[in-house]
Amino acid sequence: MADTFKLTIMDQKFTGKIKSDSKWETFHVTKHLVHGYHNEGYDKLYGIGSRLIGSILDDQEIKFECKVKEGSTLEGTCKPCSYFNECSRLIKDIKDPYISGIKNTLINDHRKPRHASFKHGNGNFVVIADNGIVVVGVINNQNNKNNLVVMTSYRYKIKSELRTDSIQQRNEIYYKKAKDNWQNKFNSSNFKKVDQYLLSNWIS
């Protein structure tokens, strides 16, 4: 079942859709919130305790033989997994901030628009929030449907041999990396028909 919400993109009303209570949700929450808890800085962003995350991670790895890791895909991990119901219950208490982060990024973009449409891979739309959250989705406005289906959401990782706890409180560091990586992508020929809006917000 999809969790729906309303948003505005360039004065047009859209319906945002997130595949909640699905393997999509268990996969993305596990990949970004559980595994990326520290490097993607979700601990500092949402204040979820490391003990809770640690115990979820242990259960997933030991009880469910979870295969999710860096570079994993839904098809290679959660889709064939038979522990969906158990895993869904396990992440119940931590998934809300992740889902809210996606919604807020999309809903609040109109205040200071920093989104882009493009033609590449599975997605065709990206938004970057000031806190460095990236949401990639697919816009379908054929037959006036005006739907936006969320494909993924993440923050870029900060890797260092030093303790990075404090660095992870700095949203602007995540934001800068997200913006730079997407500008690199937009400058590659893999991304076609790129339309960045508002360009000044992509620069500043």
Binding site: N122, I167, I203
Partner: protein, 364 residues
Amino acid sequence: MILNRDKLASLVMGCMNSISLCIEYSFDQSIADDDYSYELVFDETLFDIMTLERTISNLDEENPFHKEVDFIYESFEKIIDSNNTPFFKRLTDYENACYSNSILENHFNDLKNSLENGDELISNDNAADQLFDILRLKDKAGLFASETIITKRLKTVLNTEIFVTYSKSIDNYIIKHFNTFKILSDYIIGYRNNHLIPNSSEYNWWYSFHSLTSENLIQNLEAYVLQNESLAKSIGQKLKNLDLINKLQHSVKDSLVYAREVSEKLNDIIDETFMPDIVSSEPIPDVWGEESHISIPDSEPIPSDHEMNDRFYDIFEVNKQAIMQAIEVIEADDIDEQKRKETVAILYLMLGENNEALKRLDED
């Protein structure tokens, strides 16, 4: 370098933002001893300014933002002056931790994991992000190790020798994994364009990647002939060693040309594997730099270029997939039966599956 005003404006704006963040962090009393945020921002600001400096020094015309640039340099100079020895000691610790081989190893492992994933072959998005981490480290280390007004000033307070060593170390990694980088050529070009890397001898590595467009395809045609000859020679030798050469009615080269025509993926991996035989630069981008001389390789490739070498086996799983797919296509293709089994046998030889190759050649 021909001026691209919008991009230059974006670099100037980026530097202004970094300077302002640097100043904000330098006054932040809440920064604890184990908090390296300021060092990170300083490092990033230095990189942004050096990227700007590189761009300006390669401009063919007057910089329209000279006032802003002067302000940026002066502000950064003030930031350097306002910091004391303990800060630069901490900065050295930070640089040592970031520009370390273990972090590099970590980035490469993540890149490899992303590429090994089936879906990533379609979009490469995750791999692209891992790649950008590595490219950024390469670019930063190269710039920080270079001799410019800014680095000369920095050398008075920071040991920049680490960047010289790191720059060499990262280049070694890249040579070792070159085929992986070739797969992601378009993203390297994206990084290069975004950071306005000039097309000069100093940065020729960045221009050794090209997209397969119709324009450079024509340029590469001659190189393709050489690749086929090289590969045919290598496979022919293998067939002789296995005493299979007499079983062929068509030349190995003809079969290779046919296989490459029917399978785009196979064509690409041969192209990747025999990279040194290919014209190594794309047609010059319309913005930066002078066109460098593109030479067609000698007609006789050096021996190391025409073996199924490490580069091929480096991403063997990816290449195996492409060859298996080519076999499937060829087996379903409407061609002469003898040519089909010879081509399939050759492809199995490329996979190292000699018995399967023999079986195919012996098929009635």
